[in-house]
């Protein structure tokens, strides 16, 4: 009898979700005795809420949202078991040749920011790290799909974006993301926090630890497949959702693999693992950002106990 797992993505189906669907399609989940249903999501923070409410057992979502909730409601907060994005996708996007030369130039200017997005929430922390006054920046709430266009129109001088989304949006808009725009990654300013990965509910962790291991193993196998043959991964996406743009999703997948997943750290520790010291730094940043009542232990938000063997996580 397969263990049912309800799995929520962080967003609508995209190239970067290839491994989840591939693991399901190729039967990797089934081999582990799992019956995984994958639902599309409404944001990487909402993944945490969805799991905490009990509607989902596992999902792809934001580490920082876990930290925040682990400080307030530790008993229901999900636990990250497979940290897929090693590098933060958060960046400030500006127009090349515009008024913003350095992050400090943002003072007195307008930035567009999606209210639910981690890049927005982390902006004060970015200001601290980069040494400018976030209070001096006028933040305008904008929907994610409007960020680039409003920047191009000049309604805002900068946008707080996910590079993996924005980079491709700009290509979609028919512009060159590298020459027409300037990127200020949060990581480069010293905010080297983690972002999205696979998280599970504490209930699943307690009741079916073997299922968690199995799920992570299946995903890791699928990731290896996708890294070896990204086109095949995107083909699965295209098969699930014929309306997605295979070419674009392939680029998105490539971008994520290059910029977010493959890093020196993940090369050394393997995909899915975290650096304990870096995680502790992240936790401190989030605690200070939100004035959290407690400082969660790194072990409370991340567990390496379910990581598959290194050979499945190496590249």
């Amino acid at each position: 009898e397969d263990i049912p797992i309800r799995f929520t993505l962080d967003w609508k189906i995209q190239g970067v979700h290839a491994w989840f669907y591939l693991a399901k399609e190729k039967g990797y989940f089934a081999e582990e005795g799992l019956d995984v249903t994958i639902d599309q999501g409404e944001g990487s923070a909402a993944t945490v809420t969805r799991i905490m409410s009990g509607a989902y057992d596992a999902g792809f979502g934001d580490m920082n949202a876990i930290i925040q909730n682990a400080a307030t409601t530790p008993e229901t907060a999900p636990v990250m078991v497979y940290q897929i994005y090693n590098q933060p996708p958060f960046a400030v996007l500006t127009k090349t040749g515009g008024p913003i030369g350095t992050l400090g130039d943002l003072e007195g200017r307008k930035v567009g920011a999606p209210p639910g997005s981690a890049s927005t929430k982390l902006f004060p922390a970015l200001a601290d790290a980069a040494g400018f006054d976030a209070e001096q920046v006028e933040v305008i709430s904008v929907a994610p799909n409007l960020q680039e266009q409003m920047l191009i129109q000049g309604q805002v001088d900068g946008s707080l974006v996910f590079n993996v989304t924005s980079y491709l949006n700009i290509i979609g808009l028919g512009m060159d993301p590298d020459t027409d725009f300037t990127w200020f990654p949060y990581g480069a300013a010293g905010l080297d926090i983690y972002s999205n990965g696979v998280m599970v509910s504490p209930a699943l962790l307690a009741d079916h630890p073997e299922a968690v291991s199995g799920m992570v193993k299946a995903i890791a196998r699928a990731m290896a497949d996708v890294m070896a043959d990204p086109e095949a991964g995107v083909a699965v996406i295209k098969q699930i959702e014929p309306l997605s743009n295979a070419e674009l999703e392939l680029k998105r997948l490539d971008f994520a693999l290059t910029n977010l997943i493959r890093s020196d750290e993940s090369k050394a520790n393997g995909i899915g693992a975290v650096d304990e010291a870096r995680l502790a730094r992240s936790i401190a940043v989030i605690r200070d950002l939100y004035d959290l009542p407690a400082t969660p232990e790194p072990g409370a938000v991340f567990s390496d106990a379910f990581l598959p063997p290194m050979e499945l996580r190496a590249f």
Partner: protein, 252 residues
Amino acid sequence: MTPAMRKFASAALIVGVFVFWELFCLVAGISELILPRPTRILAAFWEYAPAIWPHAWQTLYTTLVGFVCGVAIGLSLGVLIGSSRLAYDTAYPLLVGISSIPKVAVVPIFVLWFGAGTVPAILTAMIICIFPIVVNVATGIATVEPELEDVMRSLKASKWEILWNVGLPRSMPYFFASLKVAITLSFVGSVIAETVASNKGVGNMMMIASSSFNVPLVFSGLMVLAVMGVSLYALFSLIERRMAGWAMRKSN
């Protein structure tokens, strides 16, 4: 004007709107990313039609299920509010309050309770369409001429019989009017729910299309919604002519 001429004129006018849109976009040079031309939308629809159908069916299905439940609830509540002063004073403020809340804010709660998928869409389609029906049925019943009710009361008819033979028929024209509003709201409701929490449906499709900057496809989705809305409107119009035609005797 003969009926045939009128049909033609109205069809011509509707087509005219689209022609104007096309020309406006061409002349003003509106970017495809902001507002695609109707021909581009049609082309996108044509190109992706096989992939659009399952989404369209899903949305039609959830919308109709939600709508039917909503109509049933709305009708009952409307009758209650229209016949009882206490219900009027109590339920009206509650309903107004609930309706002032954007449904987008409520959908995530449904997801937390029922998971993403069909149920939140049906629920949203349902609750969003109740209020307009309630309002019109309640108003229809509350404004029945007492003389017509007296006919029934002199026969010692029960409240239920009065409702069935006078209150409901009298409010039919307004009930059908509210259905026109309700069906459009139901579509909006299910699509909103789908954008938040579903793997299928026009709302989901539009999100996917917009994330790959396929704006003509997004607008194809909107067109599909509009066409489904208008088709159901046409259906209700037919039923309306049978059931509430008596009230429109001017045009006869």
